[in-house]
Symmetry: C2
Subunit: 350 residues, 2 copies
DNA sequence: AGACAAGATGTAAGGGCTTACATTGCGTTT
DNA sequence: AAACGCAATGTAAGCCCTTACATCTTGTCT
């Protein structure tokens, strides 16, 4: 008679998922002890721990997340809602965010809102219903009621990809307006006087709005009239960048430089310019924003604003975890992107 | 005295999330009725329904996901584990998958495994612990024990991005080897006799392995010796594509065509070729695989295999939902990608 | 009018886990 | 040797839902 047979509990169910009770029975301890082995192993004697963990392994036991969340009122899960996963803009930052969370024992749940406020709201509810201990959201702009809702539920929330010192909310990001103004100033310094801008849709997107405002600000500072700028709004995609550039170039007089709200649009714009037989930057300068990997892959490489995505992601994680643990968090954090001068920006044609 | 005050329950807790019981009290019904209003509204009288839904709204009630999962033993949630979110390869397909799921009332949970089998396994467990009703996995290759584990737990699972008629498992994908063989045949037809290949790491990646096998198959069929092909393995990224091309070109004799395991590597390769002063396709032909949007953005545009990502995603969703509902599912589905001939492939230099 | 079916609602038993509190068994202290 | 404190473990009360079953109302049929 093998010892293994002896120690197997009589009534071990052979069907369905094993539960804490099954493990407890097999290890001949109470469910409380099994729970402790799993959650705070230092409270339990080495020998007992060993016996329990063996049983866990033998049964292939896996705690039921729902039950655990119900009993413990926390889930070690945090949720992030990003506008889109279709392009690389958020990928790097979120990746870093996830890595930092994992190091701290948290799991990340990601949802994408397609830049739609109603979808975002639904997803906030869904993530909270799923027991998210905290949330990462992109940009400040959303209905006040949502913030109140989060507050009422005691769900900490960090804003990323935007920074506004005047808003007292945990955030990590950068001054979209200021960065874009800086870049636009560089463009103007090169003699460009008629500008085009391809922006993301500004409705419900404060980052896009701020970037447009940044260009206008630089223009005012350079003494240019508002009508020296033509703005086209479109959704992020190569294809839309192409179309938008065609639209800008069909106007007269043509702009000599086109500032794009992000790199994806800028790459589309470069391609369209090539299609029109325009040389970049000799005939037309084009700039981007974000500095995704693609920016150095196109020809000519893109002059753009380098956003420190990885740093933003990992600090967002730290910020959020501090908030969840009730530790003193550092409030809003401002990062300082730098302009990367590359081949797509040149002097205005004579 | 306002009616509102009258109808408010005495002991309505003012703190924390409202529960079913709070709603029930406020609407003066039992918790069972509230539950029915939420889950099968047609079982309940219109007037009662109205009263309950009003209470739900007034309290901002939101069911607790964990409790619901515990009680109902299903979650209307399905999980997907993809190798990476860093590039666009899976983005489109997953997007379509998610949309189809949403239409059917399911929520998608996404995890990324970084092409690491151990991470994938951990994530499978985590998704199941979270109560996923079904799973989407990429490619067939993983330990048999994992499939048994899923079976034991009764979790339906669909494989995507790969199709192998000889494996009796619900799947939707395409014949990676066959498609690549077809493309390679086109390359050979143009007179190329010394080939290079930049592949993803083949360890634990059956799609990558199959694609390499496809190239070899085409070569054998054309009567070429195995050593006419040099393969470099690397992880997916522009940067790695660049380095790999440099490596291939430092050999002698140089290949006249480089077949890449996917479009991201191919774009990197094109860029590196430009850096070496090589003209594509006059001096060197380069091909990709996937036909992501980027393929038409580079210069020259990429000859590649067009994978119908959206179709694959939405049919994967249907397949999985059928399995979950115990309906007769259609087993493995084979899609037929087409080769897209573009500028990056030309005749072998004289 | 009485019997009965069908529809609407209520009652209460779990579902798997965590954790406050109770119990047990030691080694120490005096 | 009695008293005590502490470490290790057990007991059992929830956490918030869903749902089988019981109960109560109506309306219909004969």
């Amino acid at each position: 008679m093998s010892r293994r047979n002896e120690s197997a509990p009589i009534d071990r169910p052979t069907t369905g998922r094993p539960t804490l009770a099954d493990v407890a029975a097999r290890a001949a301890v109470s469910t409380a002890t099994v729970s402790r082995c799993l959650n705070s192993p230092d409270l339990v004697q080495a020998e007992t721990l060993d016996r329990v963990m063996t049983a866990v392994r033998e049964l292939g036991y896996m705690p039921n997340f729902g039950a655990r969340a119900l009993a413990a009122k926390r889930t070690q899960t945090i949720g992030a809602i990003i506008p889109t996963m279709e392009n690389a803009i958020f990928a790097t930052g979120i990746q870093a965010f996830q890595e930092a969370l994992r190091d701290a024992g948290f799991t990340l749940l990601i949802a994408s809102s397609q830049y739609d406020a109603a979808v975002e709201e639904e997803q906030i509810r869904s993530l909270i219903a799923r027991g998210a201990d905290g949330l990462l959201l992109i940009g400040y702009h959303r209905e006040e009621a949502i913030y109140q809702f989060l507050e009422r539920h005691g769900i900490p929330c960090v804003i990323a990809w935007a920074y506004d010192g005047s808003i007292p909310r945990p955030a990590i990001g950068f001054d979209n307006r200021g960065c874009m103004a800086e870049l636009a100033a560089e463009v103007l310094r090169r003699g460009h006087r008629r500008l085009g801008m391809i922006s993301a849709e500004t409705a419900g997107n404060d980052r896009a709005r701020e970037r447009v405002a940044g260009v206008r600000q630089a223009m005012r500072e350079a003494g240019l009239a508002d009508d020296a700028l033509t703005v086209v709004e479109t959704r992020y995609s190569f294809e839309n960048g192409r179309k938008a550039l065609d639209a800008l170039m069909s106007r007269s007089p043509r702009p000599t430089a086109v500032i794009c709200g992000n790199d994806v649009l800028a790459v589309g714009a470069i391609q369209a310019a090539r299609g029109l037989g325009l040389k970049v930057p000799e005939d037309l300068s084009i700039t981007g924003f974000d500095d995704i990997e693609l920016a150095t892959v196109v020809d000519p490489p893109l002059t753009t604003v380098h956003v420190p995505h990885r740093r933003m992601g990992s600090r967002a994680a730290r910020l959020l975890i501090d908030l969840i643990n009730g530790e003193p968090a550092e409030g809003a954090v401002e990062l300082h992107p730098e302009i990367r001068m590359r081949g797509s920006l040149g002097p205005a044609p004579a």
